[in-house]
Amino acid sequence: MNGIHDVGGMHGLGPIKIDPKEPVFKSDWERQVFSTIGLYFAGGLCPIDEFRHAVEIMDPAEYLSTSYYVHWYHAMETLAINNGLLTKAEIDAKVEQLAQGA
């Protein structure tokens, strides 16, 4: 698949943003996304190729304008639904519950 992820050789994406003091995770939601995907792999819940595909089917403009773990978040939700772990309705209901509790 030659989608937006296939950036090798592309021009015009600008300078590299280097932060030598960057922590491993910048916030808790990054930890939650990383640990969920990591355990998808470790638990055999989804093959890594499915994970890549789930990132590659992101909206191209969003792919280029969002940070790395936002890509993983999309895969986290897509894989949970496609592999029958959760339904979208369940997730929506839980979001609503958390929003009201907040």
Binding site: G14, I16, K17, F25, W29, R31, Q32, R52
Partner: protein
Amino acid sequence: MQDADEKTVPPSPPTLRIKAIQSLLIEKGILDPAAVDEIIDVFEHRLGPKNGAAVIARAWSDPDFKTRLLDDATTTIHEMGFTGMEGAHLHVAENTPVVHNLVVCTLCSCYPWPVLGLPPSWFKAPQYRSRAVIDPLSVLTEFGVDIADDVEIRVWDSNAEIRYIVLPQRPAGTENMSESELASLVTRDSMIGTALLAPVSEASTGESA
């Protein structure tokens, strides 16, 4: 079903959705909360470039090890106990006075987790990934690395199976250093190829010898 009293301003959807998904997976017993904490701790605190630095320092200290490392990095690195996710197949590319190696993953973020930990954001961002393969010299310049005109630059584009690690040149002035002293000199970026290791001055060699 739409609630008539639905809030008109939704609160921060991605962050809440992430929390919602992980909470549901835990409630259903699909994810073990102890495993969640463990995997975060491993990657945040225990795995990191120090593993790779130990490999490099041994290669500098032990010619037989270096030969085996360049011949079969997977077996040689696994024998040091550095195994696990994203480290099944490894290859080490040696820097020499006439060759400089640079590692990228143009398609995503492939990286040897057991050897280097998780990659920095710039390694995963489109700016580095796009340019490393078409204009590596300007990439190296942005990292402050100056490569002489007569040095060949080899770019290794990682893939789903094989992960690459650069064996940097041993810095001048380290002849009397122990393996652990050498390991302390090896930086993450030097093993990706976006940094060179500076020579060690006489004074610091004397102190550590």
